[in-house]
C-alpha cells in the first residue's frame, strides 16, 4: 500500500509544481498577494509530497519489499541496514527521486527564508526565483513518474503481482561508508547550485538586476561550493582507498562531470565580487551561474546517456535526450530573458588597466572557464571526433594532465597576486610594498626545490620549480596580508597580535575566509605535484618470505591470514616494512570476497596504506592463492606516493576557509537594487 501512496504522491506533485509555476507567474504579474501565497504553498506541498514518496521507498527497503522493482534491483535481505538506506541512490530511478527530494527541500528553505525576511522587508525577488525552482522540480518529477521511456517509477511494483524471493543487492564495491556519503554529498552540492541560478533568473524576470540577487544567494553558492569540494574529494579518497590503483584522480568522465560545475562555481564566486565593488560584469555573472547550473545537468547527461565510455560504465538509457532537451530549453529561456532585459545589463564601469585587481579577477575567470571548456572538450572528444570525421576517438588521462598544467600554474600564481594587487591600476608603490617580498621568497623557494630535486636525480623539473615558486609566493603574499592586517588591528585596539588576528577575521570573514581557502589551494597544489609527479610503482610476484623494494622501502611478505566478517571473507598477507634497513611497521593488504556477490563479481581489493609523514606506502594485491602457505604466488603492486597526505590537508583547509566565509551575514544590510 505504501508504494501506491508514494506513486500517487509523485503524480500529485506534477500538479503542485504546475500550480506553483502558474500562481506565482500570474500573482507576481498582477501583484496579487493571495495568488503569490498560493504559489508558495504549492512549493511546500511539492516538498511534502516528494517526502512521502521518498519515505515510502525507504519503507520498502526497510521491510524488504521485493515486489518493488527498485528494491529488488539494489537491495537484498542480507544487506546491512546502512546500505539498505543508501540503496535509495544506488541506481538511476532512486537517485533521480533523491535528487528531486533534495531540490524540494531547497525550494522549501527558500520559501521559509523569504517568510522570515518578509516580516521585516517585503520583496518579491525570492518569489520570482521560486518559478525556475518549480520548473526544475517539474522536470525531475516527470522523469520519475515512470511515464518516460527508459526510467521506471522508483516505487513501481513488478507486473502481475510478482514478488522476487530476494533482491540482487547493491554492488559490493559501493558498500563502504565513504560510498554511502559521497553521492549524496555531490547531489547536495549540485542541487544547492540550482538556488543561485534561480535567483539569477528571478532577478532577470523581476528586472532587479543589481547586486541584490547575488547577495541573497551568496551563502547558497558558498554552501554549494563547500559541499562540492567535500564531495569531489570523498570520491577521490574512495578511489584511492578502494580501487587499488594507487591514485585518486583519473579524469574519468564522471569525475570531470563533478569537477566542471565546481570550476564554474569558483569562477562565479570571484566575478560577483567585481560586480559588488565596481558594478561591472552583470551579464557575465548571470551567464556564469547559468552555465554552472547547466553543467550539473550536463554531468548527468554525460554519465547517464551512455554516449561516453567511462569506468563508471553507465548504460544508454534514453534519459540523456530528456536532459539535453531540458538544458537547451532552459538555456534558451535564460537567453530570452537576457535579451528582454538587455538595457539594464550594461556595465557602468570598464576595465582601466591590464595590471589591476579587476583584470586579475577577469584572468582568473577566463582561466577557470577555459579549464572547464578544455575538460569538456576532452570529455566530449569521442562525440566531437565522430562528428568531424565519422570515427570515434578519445583522449587518455595524459591529455588532461598535460593540458591543465599551464592554466593551472597561472591560476596558482593569481591565488597570491589577486589579493595583493591594487584596484584600478597597479602602482610602483603597490608593487614595492606588496609584491617584492613574496616574489623574492618565491624565487628562493623555487630555487631550493630545484636544488633538492636535482640532488635526488631530476635534472630539469620545470613545472615543479614553477609550482614551488608560485606556491611559496602565494604563501608569503597571503601571510603578509594577515600579518599586516592583524598588526594594524592590534595597534588600533591596543591589544595583542593574536587578538588582532582574531578581530581581523571576525570583521571580514568573507575576505579572510577566502584567503584561508587560497592557502588550502596552495597546499593542495603541493600535494598534487608530489603525488602525481613523483610517485614510484613496483610490481612483483612473490611467495611468502620474499621481499620487494620500492624507493627506500623494503617490503617482506611474512605471513598470510584469513578472517570472516558478517558479510565478507577477508584474506590477505602481512608485510614487514623497513626503511633504509630499519623496521617501521607492518602492512596488511587484502581481498574481500562478499558472500552476496554475483557470479561475475570478483573479490574487491583492499589496499593497505602506511603513512610515513605526508607520504604513503600503498600496497595492493591481485590475488591471494589458496596454497599460499605452501609456495603459492601473490601478485603485488607497491606504490610510494610522496606528499599525498597534503592533498587531503589542503582540501580540509579549503573547507575550513569556506566555513569562515559563509559565516558572514552581509546579505541583509546591503541589498542594493
Amino acid at each position: 500500500m505504501t508504494a501506491e501512496i508514494g506513486q500517487a504522491a509523485i503524480f500529485l506533485s506534477v500538479l503542485s509544481c504546475l500550480w506553483a509555476i502558474a500562481f506565482l507567474s500570474v500573482g507576481l504579474r498582477t501583484r496579487n498577494p493571495h495568488a503569490i501565497q498560493s504559489g508558495r504553498n504549492a512549493v511546500i506541498a511539492t516538498f511534502i509530497l516528494i517526502s512521502i514518496s521518498t519515505g515510502a521507498l525507504i519503507y520498502g527497503f526497510l521491510t524488504d519489499d521485493f515486489s518493488m522493482r527498485y528494491v529488488e534491483e539494489v537491495s537484498s535481505a542480507a544487506q546491512p541496514l546502512l546500505y539498505k538506506i543508501t540503496a535509495l541512490w544506488g541506481a538511476m530511478s532512486g537517485s533521480l527521486l533523491f535528487w528531486l527530494w533534495l531540490l524540494t527541500v531547497g525550494g522549501a528553505i527558500v520559501v521559509w527564508q523569504n517568510y522570515q525576511r518578509n516580516k521585516q522587508m517585503p520583496d518579491t525577488l525570492a518569489d520570482y526565483s521560486l518559478i525556475p525552482i518549480a520548473i526544475v522540480q517539474l522536470f525531475f518529477t516527470i522523469l520519475v513518474t515512470g511515464l518516460i521511456e527508459g526510467i521506471y517509477n522508483p516505487l513501481a511494483r513488478f507486473p502481475n503481482g510478482q514478488v522476487a524471493v530476494d533482491g540482487q543487492g547493491m554492488n559490493t564495491l559501493l558498500q563502504t561508508p565513504l560510498m554511502a556519503i559521497h553521492p549524496p554529498t555531490l547531489y547536495i552540492g549540485w542541487i544547492s547550485l540550482t538556488i543561485p541560478f534561480a535567483f539569477a533568473v528571478g532577478a532577470l524576470a523581476s528586472g532587479r538586476i543589481g547586486s541584490g540577487w547575488i547577495l541573497r544567494s551568496r551563502r547558497w553558492m558558498l554552501f554549494s561550493w563547500i559541499i562540492l569540494t567535500i564531495g569531489i574529494t570523498l570520491g577521490g579518497n574512495w578511489a584511492y582507498q578502494e580501487l587499488g590503483w594507487g591514485g585518486y584522480w583519473a579524469w574519468d568522465p564522471v569525475e570531470n562531470a563533478s569537477f566542471m560545475p565546481w570550476l564554474l562555481g569558483t569562477a562565479y564566486l570571484h566575478s560577483v565580487m567585481i560586480q559588488e565593488k565596481r558594478n561591472m560584469l552583470k551579464l557575465w555573472n548571470i551567464l556564469l551561474i547559468t552555465l554552472a547550473f547547466q553543467f550539473t545537468l550536463l554531468g548527468t547527461f554525460i554519465t547517464r546517456s551512455g554516449i561516453i565510455t567511462s569506468v563508471h560504465a553507465f548504460g544508454g538509457s534514453g534519459i540523456g535526450g530528456y536532459f539535453l532537451s531540458f538544458i537547451l530549453a532552459s538555456t534558451a529561456g535564460v537567453i530570452g530573458l537576457i535579451i528582454y532585459r538587455w538595457n539594464r545589463l550594461k556595465s557602468a564601469n570598464r576595465l582601466e588597466s591590464l595590471l589591476s585587481r579587476e583584470s586579475a579577477f577577469l584572468l582568473n575567470n577566463w582561466l577557470l572557464v577555459g579549464l572547464t571548456l578544455i575538460i569538456l572538450w576532452g570529455t566530449l572528444w569521442p562525440i566531437i571526433s565522430e562528428a568531424i570525421n565519422g570515427e570515434k576517438s578519445s583522449v587518455p588521462e595524459a591529455f588532461f594532465n598535460k593540458v591543465v598544467i599551464i592554466p593551472g600554474l597561472l591560476l596558482l600564481f593569481l591565488t597570491g597576486a589577486g589579493p595583493i594587487i591594487s584596484w584600478k591600476k597597479i602602482t610602483a608603490n603597490n608593487f614595492r610594498r606588496m609584491f617584492l617580498f613574496p616574489l623574492i621568497i618565491g624565487l628562493i623557494g623555487g630555487a631550493l626545490t630545484w636544488g633538492f630535486l636535482a640532488l635526488i636525480g631530476y635534472t630539469f623539473p620545470l613545472y615543479s620549480v614553477l609550482c614551488s615558486f608560485a606556491a611559496v609566493f602565494v604563501f608569503a603574499a597571503i601571510f603578509a596580508e594577515f600579518y599586516r592586517g592583524a598588526k594594524l588591528r592590534a595597534k588600533r585596539q591596543e591589544t595583542s597580535f593574536v587578538n588582532g588576528l582574531n578581530l581581523l577575521i571576525q570583521r571580514n570573514k568573507r575576505r579572510y575566509g577566502g584567503y584561508i581557502i587560497h592557502i588550502g589551494i596552495v597546499i593542495l597544489y603541493i600535494g598534487i605535484m608530489g603525488s602525481k609527479g613523483y610517485f614510484l610503482l613496483e610490481s612483483k610476484s612473490m611467495t611468502l618470505g620474499e621481499s620487494m623494494e620500492v624507493g627506500k622501502y623494503k617490503l617482506t611478505m611474512i605471513d598470510s591470514f584469513e578472517k570472516e566478517y558478517a558479510n565478507y571473507l577477508r584474506s590477505g598477507v602481512i608485510f614487514d616494512v623497513a626503511k633504509n634497513g630499519k623496521r617501521i611497521g607492518t602492512m596488511e593488504p587484502a581481498l574481500h570476497a562478499y558472500y552476496g556477490a554475483k557470479p561475475d563479481e570478483e573479490p574487491t581489493k583492499e589496499p593497505a596504506i602506511h603513512h610515513v609523514g605526508m607520504n604513503d606506502l600503498y600496497v595492493a594485491l591481485a590475488n591471494v592463492p589458496r596454497n599460499i602457505k605452501t609456495g603459492g604466488v601473490v601478485n603485488v603492486q607497491a606504490y610510494y606516493n610522496p606528499l599525498i597526505g597534503i592533498v587531503w590537508i589542503g582540501v580540509a583547509v579549503m573547507v575550513l576557509g569556506g566555513i569562515v566565509a559563509i559565516a558572514e551575514k552581509s546579505d541583509r544590510s546591503r541589498d542594493a537594487r
Binding site: M92, I151, G306, T309, P382, V403, Q637
Partner: protein, 149 residues
Amino acid sequence: MKKQNRFKIVAASIMLLGGMVFLVFAMTRSTSMRHFTPALLVADASSADKQQVQIDGLIAEGSSKWDAANFVLTFAIRDRESDASVNVIYKDQLKPDNFTDGGSVFVEGEYDASQNLVVATKLMTKCASKYDGAESAVPTDETSYNSSK
C-alpha cells in the same frame, strides 16, 4: 579609458585565448586515440597499424591466460555482434577486478596489424557503479559500454 589600454587588453585576451586553443588542439592531436570494436579494427587493420587505439568488446571465453610469475595477462577481445577478435597482451600490471570470461572489457594500447595484437597500456573491466541500464531486470552485462553502437 584610453584607447591604448583597450588595445592592450584585447591583445592580451587574444594571446591568452590563442595560446589555450593551440595547446588544446596540439594535445588532442598528439594524444587522441581512435576507438574501435574488434570487428571494425580487424576490417580496418592496415590503417590502424602501429597506432594507439581503444577497443571495446567482451573477453572471449576461454582465451585468457594469466602468467602470475611474470605479470603477463593475455586474452582475446571479441566483438559483441560478430566472431571478430583481437589479441591483447597486458604486461606488468595487476589483473583487474571483475576480469571474467564474457565480461565487458575496454582496452587502450598500440595495435600491431601483422599479429592482430594490441599491447595494452590500460585495461578496464565493467565497473563499480551500478547505474548501468535503468531497465536492468535482466543481467547488466550487455548494457555497459554500449557506446559504439
